[in-house]
Structures are given as structure tokens and as C-alpha cells.
Symmetry: C2
Subunit: 405 residues, 2 copies
């Protein structure tokens, strides 16, 4: 008998029909002899409706009150799912984040889990119930209601799976799994039956939209096997697991793309210690998340530093750079929001020296100019013009033998 | 400086405009130098929407899950009211029933408050905040979320006012106060500036719709002055206070009517001890609330017992009577759901022997037959045909000098 955590996102519990379908699936899982813990998000666009209401009521949204407001969404879906389970003959009980023992810090609207005390869930499981837990929420060390920020329901599911030592954490969503590329860009993209945590982290970090980096990191740290699958087809999806050293690894598993970022270049910077630190401290102080950073080798004691940030942070980031420009002795700050990034990811890349060359050749043969390059041991990313991204993804997908037959 | 508990019902927080109006009123109260604790209901028809969703999802509604579902409503309105207060420059913090320390028994959907631990509210008040508390909800001794049943938000407000020793508990609603009769029935009905707890309890028990009996009882027991008033006009409404022995009391304050009940008569019952007890025990065991009970003096050792129950309980009550009919030796059980009850209420009735006679004369002169009579020291109720009720209320209102000039 396995213990399975099943997490259902907003579209999976979007209306009464979908909620009944979810309950039937949970009932089947339970009937197959498994213990099940269910984690739910708010129904469909309910959270957006609440935010609209808040905007109507007040120009400001105090974070503590916003959290109180938004957590109503999961409360509704968890009670409905529990009722639907009852209608399927499955005994269950719903638990708020607080009741499920999800203790967070006090950073409202993006709290971090600091401890899980799953006593009530264990009791419920021991007495044969299916606990239905509100995703995305917890209670702070100051006893206030908190939310976990974007992708928070996945984090709840993974954290509970870790705390309860579940055999698998199933993430149900509106796609059938993780793909070798975005199926909207590459028609021949294939669903990956299995990827390693490391690969999945790179996929999430470079544009894969199925899972947030944060929940994959959490799962890897606690060795919680993830299974991403569809609540519309109920077919097996993609398993995200520890790397299996006995198996031969795919050289390249996936091609990802991301056009949500912009590039800033700080030019003519003296090549001496402390310059980069001063620049990125200024950005960090303003809460700006920097993604890729590239610095070329110095020529005549001068260098250029380029980095990417989310487009929504571009204005603030440019301002920060202008502010320290003189202090760090830079000659210019330029920005470009018409860029895109294409990455290839594969655990087998480490032992295959030809991968980089094939990637660059493929892009070059198709007239695509590379503007920035960054690599990790299992990923190569190239920045290019935004309008070249779709083309680049398709050619790389073919070149690395990923196209479905 | 006074401490004022202000409770706002569903229509008072029905949309963003109304919520902003509520916040402005609270801000004015606070600016006048008072401490304020706000208690809110769910917005307008939101609770009905949730119940409809539950019906779509499952044919049954486990009480624990129903409570979890419904408490989402107050969570939304309290967070929005708190945000709106912020927009008015008033610092506030919202609290769930659980956070406000409202401890209940485990009787889901109609829990009773067994203790209030208002430490967090006191702390909030001490630091200058306006606490905004979810009405209608609490946390059980088993740490589950409970709701307090019909009129529960009023009970929350009164209970908090008692626990915090507030100077007054203001109940804001969509009418301007308590009236001498239902204004829809009697055009000349007057708003009563002040009624005693005893009078208000009789009014609530006999058809007055403004306050539930339960919250008035609670307020009387804890000597919490109530002020029922409108959140649309913001004018002073009706004060419900301890009887003031120094003032002359109105002989009759109000005429109430109720057509929600039906009558059952158990006829030909032997007049001996234990018969009534057996009958009403059987009804109590089925959770049927009996209201008026009338038993005539025995003739030839036989008597009739008549009583009223809510129309929704009529079938179950009739069945219970049929079941014990033989055992108690009754000859027949008849029921009648076409009745209505008209009551006159006044604390001054006690010392005015002519009141009963004037009531009966007034009804008789207008061709209205009295079918059952029951009295308390400050109330006389008559059961009559349902279609005669409106007429009876109007004539009594005039006869007892209650018509507005």
C-alpha cells in the first residue's frame, strides 16, 4: 500500500463537474489500496475575482489582509472536494493550511514554509480518512494566515509529501506532462516519460511552464518523486525522479524558450574587484531578480557586463544601473526588451563534448545570431532576437533527434 | 472614550460601494474618540451561491465540510472591510472566529459558543487597531471550524461585546430599527426608540424579523446594550436595554405577526399525569421545536392538547403524534397549516388589567375568531385564520394607540 499526495490545480477543480471528476479519481486511487492526501488550489479564476474586488474596495492591499482574502479560495474548493468525495463513498475531512500544520515565516503573500507538523493529517490517515488540504496557505509563527506566493499549491503538495514520507507526489494539471519543447511551438514535441530533478530544474528555470522551479527544488532536496499528469485525460504523465546512474542518459531531453525577459548591458566597466558586487547589490536591494549574467573577458582593462531581468523589472533595473554608473566608472547603460532565450537541457550533455558545437552550428546554419551564451553542466542557453526564438526551438528540436516519429 | 462593537450584516457589506461606506462610518466612529470592534457577515447572497455549488457537487453536505465552505464568506468580507479601512486611514487587522478566540462546542452548522478568549482582540485594541472579526464562525474544542447557525453573526457581535465589556453593541442592518408592527403590514407603524430586553425577546419570539431571539437572550444575560440601526441612513435606530424602573412603561409597544407555523391538536386525551410529557418527549427526540402549547381544562377526564410547530416540521410532528397516539390513549390527531398568530407585547401590560379585554374586543368587533390563546406577563398571543392576520395587526395597532400621527 502506497501513500500518494495528489495535487489538483485551479483548472482541475474549475467547476462542479471537474470537482466530481477529481473525487472519482481519488476514489479509484483509494479503492486500489492506496492512502491518499489531496491538495487543492482555488477554483479556476476565483482568485482573480477576489483581487478585482479588493481593487474596487481600496487602492492599497495590506499584505496580511490580502492573504486573508485569497485563502478563502482554497477553503471553498477543499470543502467542495471533500463533499464530492463523500458522494463517492470516500470518507474525508478538509484541513486549512493552518490545520494541516504548515508553519511559515511572516513574509505575507510569499511566505516560506519553515516547518510542517502533520499530526492531524496522520491521525486522519490512520482513521482511514482522505485528508483534503488547502494548497498555497499556511499559518505564520505570529499566528497570522499567510500565502506561499506563485506556485504555492505545488509547494504545499511537495512539502506534505516530504513530511508524510509519501511514495509519490502527483501534480494534476491541464497538460499531460513535461514536453521535449513547448507543443505550441514545436508540433512534434514529445511528452517525456521521465526526467531527472536536475533536468527539471533547468527546464523550469528556462521557460518550462508546467512546474515552478521552487517546488522542483523542494522535491529534489527531500527526494520526493513527482508525477506531473493531466486531470482531463488521467493518463500517466511525466515522472520527475532522482537520476538513475545505471541508465544511459539522453544527451538532450528538452528545448525550452523564454521571451519574458529583457537584457541590460552596463558597458565600459573597469575590470577590477568589487565592481560587479556593487552593481548586483544595488539590484538586490530593490528586490530585482537577475537571471543570466554574462561578463566577457576584459580588453584593455575594461569589460561589459550583461544580464537579463523580467520585463516587468526592466525600468527599475535600468534606473538602479544609472544610479551606480558613475560610482563604478561605467561608460554606458543600454537595455533591450526584444530578446528571447533558447536552452537545451540534458543530463547526458556532461559526457558529450559535441553538444555545444551542434547547437551553435544549427543556429548559425539557420541564420540565427547568438547574442549571449551561458551554460551549466547540463544546459546551454543562447540569447537571440525574440522573433528568432520559435525557429531556433524547432531546428534544435530536430537537430537533437527529439522530434516525435 | 467608549468601546463600541459594530456588526454589519450581509446587505451592509453587499458590494464594494457598501463596504467603502461601512469603512467610512467606522472611521467616523473612531475619529470621534471611540474604540471600535467590527463584526461582519458574508457579502449579500454569497453564502447562497456557495450552497448552490455544494448542491451541484454532492447530494449530501457533511456538516463539518459545509461549515468549512460557508466560513469562506466572512473571510472575504472581513479582509475587504479591513482593506477599505486602510484606505480611510484607519489601521486595522482582520481576525477569523478562531483567531478572535470564539470557542464553540462541536455541533457543526449550529454550534454554541462555550468560551471567548479575546486576547488577540485586546492586544489589537491596545495597539490602536480596529479589529475586524468574522461573524457566524468559531473553532470547536476539537479544533474544527464551526458555524453558529441562523443569526450567528449577531451572536458573535453580542458575545464579543460581553467578553470585551463594550459599552454598546450596534447591529447595522437594512431597516432603521424595531417597529411597533411590520411596516409592510401596518403603514402607520412607528420605529421604537427604545425597548426592554424582555419586550424584544417577546417581539423576536413572535415574528419580529430584525433580531433573532438567541442574540437578544445572550445580550440580556450579559447586560449588553444593543442598538439596532440602518447602514443605509446611519440614523439612530432602536436601543434595546435593561428595563428602567423609574420610567412609565408603554402598555403595549408592538404588535407582531407570524404565519410560519402550523397547529396540531391531539384530541380526547385522558387527563392524567405523564401524558403531555410522553407526547412532547417524542417530539423533542425528533428535534422538533414546539412553540405555543395550549391545553384546555379537562371535561369528563378528557382533554385536547394543541400546539404549534414550524410548517417545515408539520409532517414529522404529525407522524410523531400518530406514533404515540395509542400509547397515550388519544382519540384523534388533526393538523391545520392555515393559521397565523398575532401578539401584542408591552412591559406595561403587567399593571394594566384591561389589555386582554381590549385585544379580544378589537378582534371580535372586526369579525376575527380566536382559535388559541396564550399569554406571558408582557405578551398576549392569539391564533386565528391566516387570512385574518394582516387585518388583526392593523386593528390592534390602532386600538392600542400605536399609529404614527
Amino acid at each position: 500500500m502506497a501513500l500518494i499526495v495528489q495535487k489538483f490545480g485551479g483548472t482541475s477543480v474549475g467547476d462542479a463537474d471537474r470537482i466530481r471528476a477529481v473525487a472519482e479519481h481519488v476514489a479509484r486511487t483509494k479503492a486500489a489500496g492506496n492512502d491518499v492526501v489531496v491538495v487543492v488550489s482555488a477554483m479556476g479564476k476565483f482568485t482573480d475575482d477576489l483581487i478585482r474586488l479588493a481593487d474596487d474596495v481600496s487602492p492599497t492591499r495590506p499584505p496580511r489582509e490580502l492573504d486573508m482574502l485569497l485563502t478563502a479560495g482554497e477553503r471553498i474548493s477543499m470543502a467542495l472536494v471533500s463533499m464530492a468525495l463523500g458522494a463517492c463513498g470516500v470518507d474525508s475531512a478538509s484541513f486549512t493550511g493552518s490545520q494541516a500544520g504548515i508553519i511559515t515565516d511572516t513574509d505575507h503573500t510569499r511566505a516560506k514554509i519553515i516547518e510542517i507538523r502533520p499530526d492531524r493529517l496522520r491521525e486522519a490517515l490512520d482513521s482511514g480518512l482522505v485528508p483534503v488540504v488547502a494548497g498555497f496557505q499556511g499559518v505564520s509563527t505570529k499566528r497570522d494566515i499567510t500565502t506561499l506566493g506563485r506556485g504555492g499549491s505545488d509547494v504545499t503538495a511537495v512539502a506534505l509529501a516530504a513530511a508524510l514520507k509519501a511514495d509519490v507526489c502527483e501534480i494534476y494539471t491541464d497538460v499531460t506532462g513535461v514536453f521535449s519543447a513547448d507543443p505550441r511551438v514545436v508540433l512534434k514535441a514529445r511528452r517525456l516519460p521521465k526526467v531527472s530533478f536536475d533536468e527539471m530544474m533547468e527546464i523550469a528555470a528556462t521557460g518550462g511552464r508546467v512546474l515552478m522551479l521552487r517546488s522542483v527544488e523542494f522535491a529534489r532536496r527531500h527526494s520526493v518523486p513527482l508525477h506531473v499528469r493531466s486531470s482531463f485525460t488521467w493518463e500517466p504523465g511525466t515522472w520527475i525522479v532522482e537520476e538513475d546512474p545505471t541508465m544511459e542518459e539522453a544527451v538532450v531531453s528538452a528545448v525550452t524558450d523564454d521571451t519574458s525577459e529583457a537584457k541590460i548591458t552596463v558597458g565600459g566597466v573597469p575590470d577590477r574587484p568589487g565592481i560587479a558586487a556593487r552593481l548586483f547589490r544595488e539590484l538586490a536591494n530593490r528586490g530585482i531578480n537577475v537571471d543570466m549574467i554574462v561578463q566577457n573577458t576584459s580588453a584593455k582593462g575594461m569589460t561589459d557586463i550583461s544580464f537579463t531581468v523580467g520585463k516587468t523589472d526592466l525600468e527599475a533595473a535600468t534606473k538602479a544601473c544609472e544610479l551606480v554608473k558613475e560610482e563604478i566608472g561605467a561608460t554606458e547603460v543600454t537595455s533591450d526588451d526584444n530578446i528571447g532565450r533558447v536552452s537545451i537541457i540534458g543530463a547526458g550533455m556532461k559526457s558529450n563534448p559535441g553538444v555545444t558545437a551542434l547547437m551553435f552550428e544549427t543556429l548559425s546554419n539557420n541564420g540565427i545570431n547568438i547574442e549571449m551564451i551561458s551554460t551549466s553542466s547540463i544546459r546551454i542557453s543562447c540569447v537571440m532576437r525574440a522573433e528568432k526564438v520559435a525557429d531556433a526551438v524547432r531546428h534544435l528540436h530536430t537537430a537533437f533527434g527529439l522530434d516525435a516519429a
